[in-house]
């Protein structure tokens, strides 16, 4: 206990200010407030003050009863001031006269705050408003003073004393309760202490029990450890044993594996070998049999069906054949033979199926000491092919024969073609002399027929002088050699004509011609007396006719020589050697023969240059065939030259051969056709003119003579060279 509070003590400590702070505006405010609206006149306000006995009137915006917002205030003092100022009370509205702004006091504000406001603003009245700002009441200095009224204060103290007494009473009660509570708690604590002691006792007992149990457990654990060590030892021992066993097992397993793999390999090998054998058999289309001495036949599984004859079982047929009594070939004998000789035996045999022979090629070889293997192959196709081949061979032989014949014919025809070309030219060569001969003979015949019986008369009539002249003319005529060209003769004739004209002899032109024909070329002087004779024309005519006979005779001789030469050339060219054997011949003679035959072409613009070597040996050859070579080469050369230019023929003796070069100055063989010129039937001549065989035949003939042919050609010089060995070997 610290002390006691009494009403006196409280009064002593309480100050008026403290009291003001303890109370609220609400408690002391006057709720009955006279209000007026802003539009109310001051006069009206003053009246209300008077009637209501109020010292102030609050001016509000809204003038209904409940909710009024105060905006200003008019006090008695204000009215006094207005009166003194002479304000028109009636005409002035409250709003214009009121004091404002209004300083409102919140309803919850303390009286102290109200007092502070009044002091601050030097006012004695405060309008109180509620939270919403509406008019609640009014507090004045006088109401504040009422609040501090001592009687009321005493009442308040009494109230407070009562309140304190109450509170102490309450506290006493609470204290008693608390003391009771403490007592109860102490009891509870005692109980708890007892419980605790009890618990501790129990714990002690429990701990003892646990220690005991623990020691037991420890012992058990120790036992266990011992047991475990034993187990571990046993385990180790077991493991070792397992390891040893495993090693042993592994070794034995390896052995087994090895054995298995060996077995497998063997098996594979066996399988492969079997497969191989099977495949080999499968691939074989032959009939394969194993025959033993007891007459057993085993058929090996070959694929005889693959190439077999359709619709028949060849294996069965073959086996049947072994046991066929009608079989003319005793196949068991053959088997026996192989077994005895131990030599493989091959032979062909045939089986007849539907009247058709099927051929086999059999091979019997030793299989074991009492068995053989018989392999038979169907060779019908081969037999057929052989037969077809043989037929083809025969056909080919036949064709070859025909080709050879055709070749011979072609060679012959080429020869004939060359000959034909020659003959065309030769015809002209022979017809010319023939014409001359015919004409000359006619002339001679006519002379004898017409003149013979007149000649004696003519001679009788001749005077001795004229007779002398006549014989002189005949003498001149016989002297005439006819070496002059027609041009020279004409010059002579003209000169004669002029001489005769100078001598004033008639018909000088014809006379000059006649004289020239008789053989009087220049010196006409000795014959002038004759020419001036009256009998001159007749004498000259007879003399001329004598001269023509002489000339005709010479013509005939010349023409005959020409014809004979040509015929000789033809004869030597086409000398037909039936034996076809070789003969000794002179190469250049053959070339010359051909040149003679080509004379008619050569003479018209070709200069032939012959360079024949000395002491050229004769050659054993086929002369007519060589002539054909020269003919072809010379013909080609002349044709290439267009029968104009220089044709060079060189014949030389070189070592054991004779070389013949024929060179023309034609345009040459174009390089693009050079490789083809020896091809049969290749020709640059228009169709029908050449066979294209010429050079092919030339080459063949030269080869027959074991010779060679070379060609070199540039423009203006094409040279064919033939090399012929002097001695050719027989047997060709």
């Amino acid at each position: 206990m610290l002390g006691a509070i009494t009403g006196e003590s409280i009064r002593q400590i309480l100050e008026p200010g403290d009291l003001l702070q303890m109370r609220r505006a609400q408690e002391i405010m006057t709720a009955e407030v006279i209000v007026a609206s802003t539009s109310t006149s001051v006069l009206e306000v003053a009246k209300q003050m008077t009637t209501q006995r109020k010292s102030c009137i609050v001016i509000c915006n809204e003038c209904d009863n409940k909710k009024q917002k105060p905006v200003g205030i008019i006090t008695e003092r204000d009215i006094v001031k207005f009166q003194a100022a002479g304000l028109d009370f009636a005409g002035t509205r409250a709003a214009a006269a009121m004091s404002f702004p209004l300083i409102p006091l919140q309803i919850t504000a303390t009286l102290w705050q109200a007092h502070q406001f009044m002091q601050q603003h030097h006012i004695r009245r405060l309008v109180v408003v509620n939270e919403a700002g509406y008019l609640a009441g009014i507090v004045t200095q006088s109401s504040l003073l009422y609040a501090l009224y001592p009687v009321e204060l005493l009442t308040n103290v009494e109230v407070l004393q009562e309140t304190v007494a109450e509170k102490i009473q309450e506290l006493k009660k609470v204290n008693e309760q608390l003391q009771k509570e403490a007592l109860r708690r102490t009891e509870v604590e005692e109980q708890l202490r007892l419980l605790n002691e009890n618990l501790e006792e129990q714990i002690k007992l429990r701990t003892l029990e646990l220690i005991k149990a623990n020691s037991q457990l420890k012992k058990e654990i120790q036992d266990r450890a011992t047991a475990e060590a034993e187990v571990r030892r046993l385990n180790t021992e077991l493991e070792q044993r397992v390891r040893d066993r495993t090693v042993q097992l592994a070794a034995s397993n390896d052995n087994l594996q090895q054995e298995i793999s060996d077995r497998k390999l063997l098996e594979e090998k066996l399988h492969f070998s079997e497969t191989k054998v099977r495949a080999v058999f499968e691939a074989m289309t032959d009939i394969v049999l194993v025959l033993n001495i007891q007459g057993n036949i085993e058929v090996l599984p070959t694929n005889t069906a693959a190439f077999s004859e359709p619709y028949c079982d060849l294996v069965s047929l073959t086996i049947e054949h072994f046991f066929d009594d009608d079989n003319p070939d005793d196949w068991w004998m053959l088997v026996q033979q192989v077994l005895e000789t131990q030599q493989t035996l091959n032979f062909d045999y045939s089986l007849t199926v539907d009247g058709r022979e099927i051929w086999f090629s059999a091979c019997i070889s030793l299989f074991s000491k009492d068995a053989v293997i018989w392999v038979a192959r169907n060779i019908s196709d081969r037999k057929l092919a052989e037969s077809a081949l043989s037929q083809k061979n025969t056909e080919l032989a036949h064709t070859l024969e025909e080709l050879k014949r055709t070749q011979q014919e072609l060679i012959q025809s080429e020869k004939m073609a060359a000959l034909g070309q020659l003959i065309a030219g030769v015809a002209h060569e022979i017809n010319s002399p023939l014409g001359a001969i015919r004409s000359s003979v006619q002339n001679i015949a006519d002379f004898w027929a017409e003149q013979l019986h007149q000649l004696p008369i003519f001679f009788k009539q001749l005077s001795p002088e004229r007779q002398q002249d006549f014989f002189a003319l005949l003498h001149k005529s016989s002297q005439e050699t006819d070496t002059l060209s027609s041009k020279e003769k004409r010059q002579l004739k003209k000169s004669l004509q002029r001489q005769l004209e100078a001598e004033k002899i008639d018909d000088a032109d014809s006379l000059a011609c006649t004289l020239l024909d008789i053989g009087i070329c220049n010196n006409v002087e000795p014959f002038l007396p004759l020419l001036k004779d009256r009998e001159s024309p007749n004498i000259l005519q007879i003399a001329y006719e004598f001269a023509t006979v002489q000339k005709s005779t010479k013509n005939i001789a010349t023409a005959t020589d020409r014809a004979a030469k040509i015929v000789f050339a033809l004869k030597s060219y086409s000398r037909y050697d039936q034996s076809g054997s070789k003969a000794i011949a002179n190469i250049t003679e053959g070339i010359d023969t051909v040149l003679t035959l080509y004379h008619y072409q050569i003479k018209h613009g070709v200069e032939v240059v012959r360079n024949y070597g000395n002491d050229l040996p004769s050659v054993l050859c086929y002369p007519d065939e060589l002539n054909q070579v020269w003919t072809n080469l010379l013909h080609n050369a002349l044709q290439a030259m267009g029968n104009k230019g220089v044709l060079k023929i060189d014949v030389k003796h070189q070592d054991n051969a004779i070389s013949v070069s024929i060179t023309d100055n034609g345009p040459g063989i174009p390089p693009e056709i050079m490789p083809r010129i020896f091809e049969p039937f290749f020709t640059t001549k228009p169709p029908g003119e050449g066979t294209g065989l010429g050079l092919d035949i030339v080459l063949k003939i030269i080869e027959k003579h074991q010779g060679k042919l070379q060609v070199e050609s540039v423009p203006d010089q094409t040279k064919f060279t033939v090399y012929l060995p002097i001695k050719i070997t027989d047997g060709n």
Partner: protein, 132 residues
């Protein structure tokens, strides 16, 4: 007045000799007989006779196959200048194409073949002369 001329052309002298004998025998001194061994010589003679002697060539007897200008070409040339001359060809080897050409381009009177018949030759020349 110069005599008309008969001209023979052949590269063979024996032929020329024979022809001349035959013609002279038949026609005597009525004509003059000229011979040439080739076409060029013949052309010279023709030019000479025509220009210098002012005489006429009536007949030409020509061979075909001759060195240089051949008979057909020679006669065609002559014909171009002297179409009135009678042209006779006498050949041992007749080239049909050449003869045809002369017939067409040189109005060939006739072509005779060697060996010829004397009488036929004479008749040919006479028939030729008759046309003039």
């Amino acid at each position: 007045m110069p005599k008309p001329v008969i001209l023979c052309v052949d590269d063979e002298v024996v032929i020329l000799n024979s022809l001349k004998i035959q013609l002279k025998k038949e026609f005597g001194d009525v004509y003059l007989y000229e011979v040439a061994e080739n076409a060029n010589e013949a052309l010279e003679i023709i030019a000479e006779i025509k220009e210098e002697d002012e005489s006429d060539i009536l007949v030409i007897v020509s061979d075909w196959l001759m060195p240089g200008i051949k008979g057909d070409e020679f006669l065609i040339r002559v014909h171009q200048k002297y179409p009135n001359i009678v042209k006779v060809m006498l050949t041992g080897q007749a080239d049909a194409v050449a003869i045809e050409r002369v017939k067409e381009q040189a109005n060939l009177h006739r072509c005779l073949c060697k060996p010829w018949d004397g009488q036929e030759l004479v008749e040919t020349i006479k028939s030729g002369l008759a046309k003039i």
